[in-house]
Symmetry: C2
Subunit: 383 residues, 2 copies
């Protein structure tokens, strides 16, 4: 019998609570509390969700945060975080944390990368210092951070890519998955996720999924998407891949995405998401609401006394005028970035909470259609 949602479990577990077509409603239990799925994980890159206190992040509805291994290993350093009591105490977030393996940021940010069978060496984009990341070291770092859900090191390539390149990276990632599993050992309070690679090739993706399952993981991440391909390609890969994944394990689409990416991925059976987009967009003056995205920099808001969305459950969408938000964005005041980051994270959490309720009610198709209709109708007409 599943434990209550607000209880903490003594070991990691996933329970599938309901399905509606491929869409799934579930719950991950950890010793730091439950994660309701579909779940959106705000990104706390370097030990902080940018512009927000941890309790403000929690109040948006977030059950779990993501921490970036690459950023944290460089500053302040994994051993330092461990000496300070782990990442949860360090940033005062006592609920679950998922960490990535560091591999993606090594490929996108670091300098002088050198990839071998053993791992990857690189230089920090901050100070040029030399570092090495291997499957074993990545597990060690994530364990030092006291992460609750740990990712294997993988090789993520951009798309489009030649098939032999997708094959090579997928097979290397599988060998690293095996080494990661060995390095991880037996840690019942933590979960280790394998990462499916294989580019946009259905057969390679299926081979990756099968290979990972024969090793055996607590969850399956989907890497190598949202790396340059059109949304329809991502959706096709997901539609082909999710039937190849076990139904009793969570599925995590890494680094995705905008609200319509997330809705389409839930529709195809994905359970977990993370993305810097909501906070980054907020820092750039963009607000996500049920009416789509609103650019507060636009002069049309200059004299507009209306709030972002007077029917929103989020107080910040009701209490400040668009004119005030426009003013904060134009004067580059921190509060503008703070409010819009909160607004966007809140909307992302509303989106996945609505999906959870709709799947439970067997009404996900209606929910998705209504959500898309509201986005397409767009923002309020100018005043």
């Amino acid at each position: 019998m599943p434990i209550a949602a607000d209880q903490s479990a003594d070991h990691f577990a996933f329970t599938l609570l309901a399905s509606d077509g491929p869409a799934r409603r579930g719950r991950i239990d950890t010793h730091r509390g439950a994660v309701q799925t579909p779940a959106f994980m705000p990104v706390g890159t370097v030990g902080t969700v940018k512009g927000m206190y941890p309790e403000q992040v929690r109040a948006t509805g977030a059950d779990i945060l993501l921490g970036n291994t690459y950023h944290l290993m460089l500053r302040p350093g994994a051993e330092r975080v461990a000496a300070l009591g782990g990442l949860h105490d360090f940033m005062d977030w006592q609920r679950p944390i998922l960490t990535d393996s560091g591999g993606f940021q090594v490929m996108s940010l670091a300098k002088l990368r050198k990839l071998t069978e053993h791992g990857v060496t690189f230089r920090s984009h901050i100070d040029g210092s030399a570092h090495e990341l291997t499957p074993e070291r990545s597990i060690e770092i994530q364990t030092l951070l006291d992460s609750d859900i740990i990712m294997q090191l993988d090789e993520c390539i951009g798309l489009p890519a030649p098939r032999e390149e997708m094959l090579r990276a997928m097979e290397l990632s599988l060998r690293w998955a095996e080494r990661s599993k060995t390095a991880f050992g037996n840690q019942p309070k933590r979960a280790l996720f394998g990462i499916v690679q294989g580019g946009d090739d259905a057969e390679l993706r299926a081979r990756s999924a099968a290979g990972l399952q024969s090793i055996g993981f607590s969850g399956y991440s989907i890497g190598g998407l949202a790396v340059g391909e059109p949304q329809e390609v991502m959706f096709r890969v997901l539609s082909e891949l999710t039937p190849e994944l076990p139904s009793d394990r969570p599925r995590y689409l890494m680094g995705v995405g905008k609200p319509d990416d997330i809705l389409g991925a839930i529709e195809r059976g994905v359970d977990m998401f993370d993305c810097v987009h909501p906070t980054r967009a907020g820092r750039h003056g963009h607000a996500y609401t049920r009416m789509g995205v609103i650019n507060l920099k636009n002069a049309r808001h200059k004299d507009d006394p209306r709030p972002l969305d007077e029917h929103s459950p989020n107080p910040n969408c009701r209490r400040f005028s668009r004119a005030y938000l426009h003013h904060l964005v134009r004067t580059e005041e921190m509060l503008g970035a703070m409010i819009l980051s909160q607004v966007n994270l809140h909307y992302y959490q509303e989106l996945v909470a609505g999906a959870r309720a709709a799947i439970e009610a067997g009404a996900f198709a209606d929910y998705a259609a209504q959500t898309r209709t509201a986005w397409a109708a767009g923002d309020l007409p100018p005043r």
Copy 2:
């Protein structure tokens, strides 16, 4: 009989509740709530206290904010703020607001200034647009902002300065005080404060104070200090000046200062203060506590698990390690500036709240001595 502190009055009033030597404990009543004095007013330059939500500012203990007429007249513009319901609604701060006259920032920030008997013309430091500020226009702007406590336009000069220059600026400020009083008219819900000038010359200051009193104001501001002179000069001017001011009106020392400036000015009979220093210092990685100022950028904090001050009444001083704050400051994360701005404003409010309690108890001298002893003892020794 004085109304209760949490009630709002139908008109502006000051009540002197207790004295301890020159130090005074009072209460200002306004139709937007009471202000306990000695009071520190956080600066909401352009319609936001930098890096803080209004409710976070209130939670530090602030009864009243200061808004800058110069900044707000340029962006978003006084007429726009009025059309949007006034500054309180604009920034969602429903308690009292004091505005300066704009004169000080015109002198320190604007370009191509031209000062005449009529007023001052200048160009915006942002876009070079041409503007004029006269005593009458300053009152009009502050009324459009719906300020509760309005300042006359004055001319503030730097120190040291020749006596004839201090005399000229003081006399011009007096003539502008007269015009300001006429322009202000009869507005019982608002207060108009005159501003004492006269540089570091006791006789000029006394003449300024007498001239203002013969015009008659709801409060008396002390301008032209903290403009380059040593602290001892400022303290001497205050000691000479405050006996020349009426005891039944609040006294506001403009733009001051650091904690020891404030303590010394309370000791000399000042009731109100404002300064950007606590939030600006916070953005630069400095934390004020009862142990003085702590530079979180310093590498000594890198591995320090201790909080800023485990005995502080402020949760942010207890919940985050110095190592985490150091990390946030070094990585230039917004949260670092947010936390340290809150820490500093909270400490300033603790300082004036402690002064209020000590004056009520007739123990201000002890309070001042103990506070200075703790500052002098300094921060915790390195670990």
